[in-house]
């Protein structure tokens, strides 16, 4: 469903993504992991047709992402890094807009909107303007927008960050459910415990280069330990000035 061949993106002298090869099959949940600045968002942008690769090729739903961006956008749902919400629309209006734009019949849009608002506990804030929403509400709204048109592939950039535990569980269950129905999910996240629970495939990237790609069950150790070994080792620094006995 998603296929990358020698995918490379350079910004001047800086190489954000270098020679990435990747295959994600239909109905799989693929977690794309790496530290900030590793090239995750750049890869997602190339996969969603928002950024052209410097070299290489991305195919999503059988479409070349760079050559058919409009057709691709009709088939995918995206939760972007910056959420992509309009300050002057309410939570509910964002969902109605999505239905209208993706050609979902009006009655179906209303039904799906009601279901999504209920499932994501957004009913009480349905008439709140995005500018006045909490970050969690904004994220849930953008997530609901990605789901509403019933896409073939979901691209989710850090979906679990800044979300309360109950909503995170609901989102996790929803993602597992859509994957069972054949929707492919490609997500980036820093919450490894959540990734460990839902991902079928784990891909790790460091400084634009893929350092791991396997089925989730093939990891040689816990995801966290493997991540620290391959991607980034945490360095803990003592802050001597912290504590009641110090000035």
């Amino acid at each position: 469903m998603i296929s990358c061949r020698n995918l490379t993106r350079r910004f001047g002298e800086f190489t954000a993504v270098s020679g990435l090869d990747l295959e994600v099959s239909t109905g799989a949940i693929c977690a794309f992991l790496g530290p900030n600045g590793a090239g995750k968002s750049t890869t997602v942008k190339m996969m969603t047709g928002l950024l052209s690769p410097t070299s290489g090729e991305v195919t999503v739903c059988g479409l070349n992402a760079a050559a058919n961006p409009l057709e691709l956008k009709r088939r995918i749902g995206v939760l972007p890094e910056d959420l992509g919400l309009f300050d002057d629309l309410t939570v509910e209006e964002h969902l109605l807009l999505t239905g209208d734009i993706y050609g979902v019949p009006r009655h179906e849009t209303r039904a799906r909107t009601a279901q999504l608002l209920h499932a994501l506990s957004l009913e009480h804030g349905r008439r709140t303007f995005a500018a006045a929403c909490s970050h969690g509400m904004r994220k849930k709204t953008a997530f609901a927008m990605a789901l509403l048109p019933n896409p073939q592939v979901l691209f989710l950039d850090e979906p679990f960050e800044a979300i309360d535990p109950v909503t995170a569980k609901i989102m996790r269950d929803l993602l597992q459910s859509v994957a069972r129905h054949g929707v492919t999910v490609f997500l980036t996240s820093h919450i490894l415990s959540m990734v460990e629970r839902i991902a079928h495939q784990i891909v790790m990237i460091r400084q634009g280069v893929k350092v791991w790609d396997s089925a989730a069950g093939d990891l040689p150790q816990s995801l966290e330990d493997h991540y620290f070994d391959l991607v980034e080792t945490p360095v803990v620094e003592e802050l001597e000035w912290l504590g009641p006995s110090r000035s």
Binding site: L50, L70, D82, L85, F86, D87, D88, L96, L97, I101
Partner: protein, 336 residues
């Protein structure tokens, strides 16, 4: 005391930055038109602009601190009182009013005029300091539009309602309407001239149609499977939904023609160089050249429709449609 002064210093810095946003006026068509063409005759227009600007200038400076942050800071009762009493003096308008009261009332302006300005200032200050419960979003209720772009048009309409350009045009149009209802009959030429002024007041916004969408909005446009011309169409529909009703009490057909031409020319800077705009300020256009061409074209179109034939609406419509298609493609490239 030290804590209060630290907060006041930060507040003054934030306020000074906020005031620089009023420099947007220098790139506004309506301001330029008044400054260069109307000169002395433009006093009435300057008064309207002053009145419109007075409201955002009069807001409570303490609003710049999020209430949750203010509540968290370890400030005593006395320090909070100092903040409350000293913060209005961060606003230069407070000093201006005080100076006018001491030295100018009765000389530069009449006492009644001073009282009117001070009253408006106080009203805007109080409204911003004491937000009305549940009523703050009332003005955001906008009608629905037919078609799949409905929510985009509504959003764009709400954006227009947060620009001072609209309120300037509204006051001009309202003044003429009041004159027509309660005053002597106005000559058709005067109505035509006022139509040009009303559309000119909104013309700078047509040059920065994507200016209030923010990064999040632009990012969403990139994700939507919508052609660029349809995004522009949603912007134009909102603009016309405001401009046409405002010209209804004036000369409506020249107004429609002028609005279409305004959009046709405004598409170029709007699509090619989306300039971020600030809410509750005047819109800043894409440059003096663009503004001059836009003003000239809208005035000529309105005049042609008014003095010769309604058929001049047809070329205006054609120019708008061509511009929509052409710059729609450009917008797609720039946004995408």
């Amino acid at each position: 005391m030290a804590r209060s002064f630290a907060i006041l210093r930060a507040l003054a810095l934030a306020y000074r930055r906020d005031w620089t946003a009023f420099q947007s006026l220098a790139g506004n068509n309506f301001f330029l038109l008044t400054a260069f063409l109307l000169r002395q005759a433009g006093t009435f227009v300057y008064l309207i602009m002053g009145l419109v600007v007075l409201f955002p200038l009069s807001t409570d400076p303490l609003r710049k601190i999020p209430p949750s942050r203010l509540a968290l800071w370890p400030l005593g009762r006395r320090e909070r009182w100092i903040l409350r009493l000293a913060s209005p003096w961060i606003n230069p308008l407070t000093w201006g009013l005080a100076a006018l009261a001491m030295w100018g009332a009765g000389r530069i302006v009449t006492v009644g005029m001073w009282a009117a300005i001070a009253g408006l200032f106080a009203a805007a200050f109080l409204v911003s300091a004491l937000p009305l419960p549940g009523g703050a979003g009332m003005w955001r209720r906008v009608p629905h539009f037919p078609g799949p772009l409905n929510q985009l048009v509504r959003k764009n309409l709400r954006e227009i309602l947060t620009t001072l350009d609209f309120y300037c045009a509204l006051i001009l149009s309202g003044a003429v309407l009041a004159c027509r209802v309660f005053g002597p009959a106005l000559p058709p030429e005067a109505l035509m001239a006022m139509t040009v002024l009303v559309v000119a007041a909104m013309s700078s916004y047509a040059q920065c149609l994507f200016g209030l969408d923010g990064e999040g909005g632009l990012s969403r446009y990139r994700l939507l499977p919508v052609r660029g011309w349809r995004l522009l169409l949603a912007k134009d529909a909102a603009f016309l939904a405001v401009a046409i009703p405002l010209t209804l009490p004036l000369a409506v057909l020249p107004g429609i023609g002028a609005a279409l031409v305004t959009l046709a020319i405004g598409h170029a800077p709007a699509a090619e160089h989306p300039r971020p705009q600030t809410r509750w300020r005047f819109s800043t256009g894409g440059g003096l050249g663009n503004g001059a061409i836009q003003l000239l074209a809208l005035a000529m179109t309105a005049f042609a429709i008014f003095s010769t034939s309604t058929w001049f609406l047809a070329p205006a419509l054609a120019a708008w449609a061509l511009s929509l298609g052409w710059f729609g493609r450009k917008a797609e490239r720039v946004l995408g």
